[in-house]
Amino acid sequence: MRRRQLLAAASASAIVALTATKAHAAWPERPITIIVPWGAGGGTDATARILASLMERELGVPVNVVNRTGGSGVVGHSAIATATPDGYTLGIVTVEIGMMHWAGLTDLDWRAYTPLALYNEDPAGVQVRADAPWNTAKELLDAIRSNPPGTFKASGTGQGGIWHLALAGMLAAAGMEPDRVPWVPSQGAAPGLQDLVAGGVDIVTCSVPEAKGLIDAGKVKSLAVMASERNPVFPNVPTLEEATGVKWTLGAWRGVAGPKGLPQEVVDRLVPLLKKIHDSQEFRDFMAQRGFGVIWKGPAEFAEFMAQRDASLGEVMKKLGLAKA
């Protein structure tokens, strides 16, 4: 009797020990998936793929990037949030996580994730056609103010997207009604910029790196960047505050996160790894070549950052009438 109990206890503890080692020491023992809520070829996809290839080298298991597009980012973001929190499904969370729940598209917000690392932020810019009559952001704002509402049109992303908020927030901060320049929705920065050159719209408030090709081609000029500092890749483009005195900054950001409840040991392994990748020459070179801004925030700061951005974006969206709640 006693022996049997002992045996049972021993085998039970053996099982516990076995499963425990499996959970502790083994991650990662199989391929990891990184979900990207945006299409192949976009900026989010590009940054995810370089991160994945560098992670693969460090971790020794395949790291696959999977694009789950559609629904203005809702589909991919919810796929990350609802994945099993075992460390084998991670994702890239983007600025839209702080916008789509205000727009009433989903209930998801930043609380549904285990934040790991914020790695990129790109401020909005103010782009016009190269032959446009305005040479500074101040002249542009004056022209908007002195002409009737609707004279000028702007584009760069979908209705209620991040660059739409950038424009509306800028107008509001300059003391104008936020819809004085109507927004023409587009499928992204590239189609918006093409429409700018074709004469379909007058202003595109996407990030400056997104317009780099057309700026280099002499088709488009960038008047200001909505950040507190200039972009080192574009040192001649002043900040909005330098150019106009209007205090308004806004940017799109990207970070790595997992579903809520990621095991602590996975977080402890991943965060230093991501920091190492972030500091590596390969990652920095890649980001610099594309003109992507580099920023680093670890889990706690990243969570705080998301909460803060969520609140400020909600405020702008309410002011614009784009928020449901």
């Binding site: 559609g70 809702v74 979908g158 093409q194």
Partner: protein, 499 residues
């Protein structure tokens, strides 16, 4: 001249050739797998290209995409599963040729005219890139609205059978394209609160379901019209191609150039090019009634067009950093990484690199002849497989393809639902091709209409204010008027099997 020689030395360097060789094999495999597209092939290549020199990196993408677009014809012709969306336009003709025992003609035409279309696209890229990019860039939503509407009128031509049934099918496709978050206002439609539906009905599972699954179903219910493969072997695929070349020289030139032009326009790629060329081919054909019944003419023209579009799409991407299609959207990223920032200056600053990339276009398209021949040799083995084994395998392939595009079971659901729908449509004489066209073009029409209306503040006449838009608008109205007139006029009855 020095530049050209340097460029050739880059393009023909052993390292580049090895890369081109393996990228071609990879592209053939991806293209032949339903659900895996040329875009996906490019995305998968990007991490590999991080560690390459600029020329091999871009050569890898060029050769993989060219092969993938051709290889999409293989399962299309043999199994009625378009391997990539670019093969969807003429899949019926190719498959019916196989049923008639003329698989070598369908596959050979797909191969030979893909090569010619690809070469024309590359030639245009080399000669006129800066000029054409300039023109493409002057198109705004007004012009695109008319163009997409013109594309919709292609439905009349791609449909077989009664025009009114074609129209119903087109409207069904347009309805399906409205599901999801709408392109302009960001409001969810017909989603019933299902997150997955917010992304809309993905085109690829829809296409696989409507073409391939419906064919499996037809076989399963033992219908007499179900495809019975009479052919057990494929003869020389190159035989008869010279004859085709002599018979359809105009179609070939038209397809190659039109395909290249559509590729140059941002936002439309190889798939739209194939549809439009197929419709144009039927419109100007001397035997339009044969289209859709296993006629090679449409394959010649549209097969050239989709490969031409590949080269064309690089034009705005290289000159302005504006992607011509989804493949070049990724290419732009690679260009930046390799220090070849897109812009007119890339032609001045690094001409030798650029011309080396252009050379690989020619190289890849010429390599397609032997590689494609080998691929057909391997792929034809499916014809030896008994139908009882093949059909379940096709069903499995449909599932994998529908799953692969977004890695979601939801895609499999879309494929199954639309496949069953297409089965009943075809059984009742409704052609499926117009529905597919509606799914492809619906979002383009809607988006360009809404954005134009926002810009014009609701004034409809603004659609005729810009000169190019006015011209396209008048052309569209003329085409529509002619179509209506023809539909109203009693026409001689042509017996065309729609199933």
């Amino acid at each position: 001249m020095d530049t050209i020689l340097t460029a050739l030395s880059y393009a023909l360097a052993p390292s580049t050739l090895v890369v081109v060789f393996f990228a071609s094999l990879f592209g053939l495999f991806v293209g032949a797998m339903p659900g895996l597209t040329a875009t996906l092939a490019t995305a998968l290549l990007v991490p590999v290209t991080f560690f390459m020199e600029p020329v091999p990196a871009l050569a890898a993408i060029v050769s993989a995409t060219a092969m993938a677009i051709f290889a999409g014809d293989l399962p299309g012709a043999l199994l009625r599963i378009p391997g990539t969306p670019a093969s969807a336009a003429y899949v019926d003709d190719a498959y019916r040729l196989t049923l008639k025992g003329q698989a070598e003609l369908a596959l050979g035409a797909g191969l030979v005219f893909s090569v010619i279309g690809g070469l024309v696209g590359a030639l245009v890229l080399v000669i006129a890139a800066p000029l054409l990019a300039e023109i493409a860039l002057s198109f705004s939503s007004f012009e695109y609205f008319w163009l997409s509407l013109l594309g919709l009128s292609c439905a009349v031509f791609v449909a077989t059978g009664k025009p009114v049934k074609g129209a119903v099918s087109l409207l069904l496709g347009l309805f399906i394209s409205t599901i999801g978050i709408d392109v302009a206002a960001g409001y969810p439609r017909f989603t019933f609160g299902i997150t997955e539906l917010m992304g809309g009905v993905s085109f690829i599972p829809a296409m696989i379901g409507m073409f391939a699954l419906s064919e499996v179903l037809r076989w399963a219910v033992g219908h007499r019209r179900a495809g019975v493969l009479v052919q057990q072997r494929i003869g020389n695929i190159f035989r008869g191609q010279l004859g085709l070349l002599r018979r359809y020289p105009l179609g070939l030139i038209r397809g190659s150039l039109l395909g290249t032009a559509i590729g140059i326009l941002p936002g439309a790629g190889a798939d739209v090019a194939a549809w439009v060329s197929y419709a144009v081919s039927k419109r100007f054909s001397r035997e339009p009634e044969k289209f859709g019944t296993g006629h090679v003419e449409g394959i010649v023209e549209a097969g050239a067009a989709n490969n031409g579009a590949l080269g064309g799409a690089w034009v705005p991407a290289l000159v302005f950093g504006i992607p011509g299609d989804s493949v070049t959207a990724i290419v732009i990223g690679v260009l930046y990484m390799k220090g070849m920032d897109p812009g007119p200056t890339v032609m001045l600053e690094r001409p030798e690199l650029l011309y080396a990339v252009f050379s690989t276009f020619f190289l890849a398209n010429l390599l397609m002849l032997p590689f494609g021949w080998l691929a057909i040799k391997c792929f034809r083995r499916v014809l030896h497989v008994p139908r009882e084994v093949l059909m379940p395998a096709i069903l499995l392939l449909c599932m994998v393809g529908a799953f692969a595009i977004n890695n979601t079971v939801f895609g499999v659901g879309i494929m199954l639902v639309l496949g069953v729908l297409a089965f009943f449509m075809e059984e009742s004489g409704f052609p499926v091709a117009p529905a597919i066209l509606g799914i492809v073009l619906g979002p383009l029409v809607e988006e360009n209409f809404i954005t134009s209306m926002i810009k014009a503040e609701g004034h409809v006449l603004a659609f005729f204010e810009r000169p190019i838009a006015a011209g396209l608008g008048i052309l569209t109205i003329l085409v529509w008027a002619m179509t209506v007139r023809r539909a109203l006029r009693p026409e001689p009855q042509i017996a065309v099997s729609a199933g």
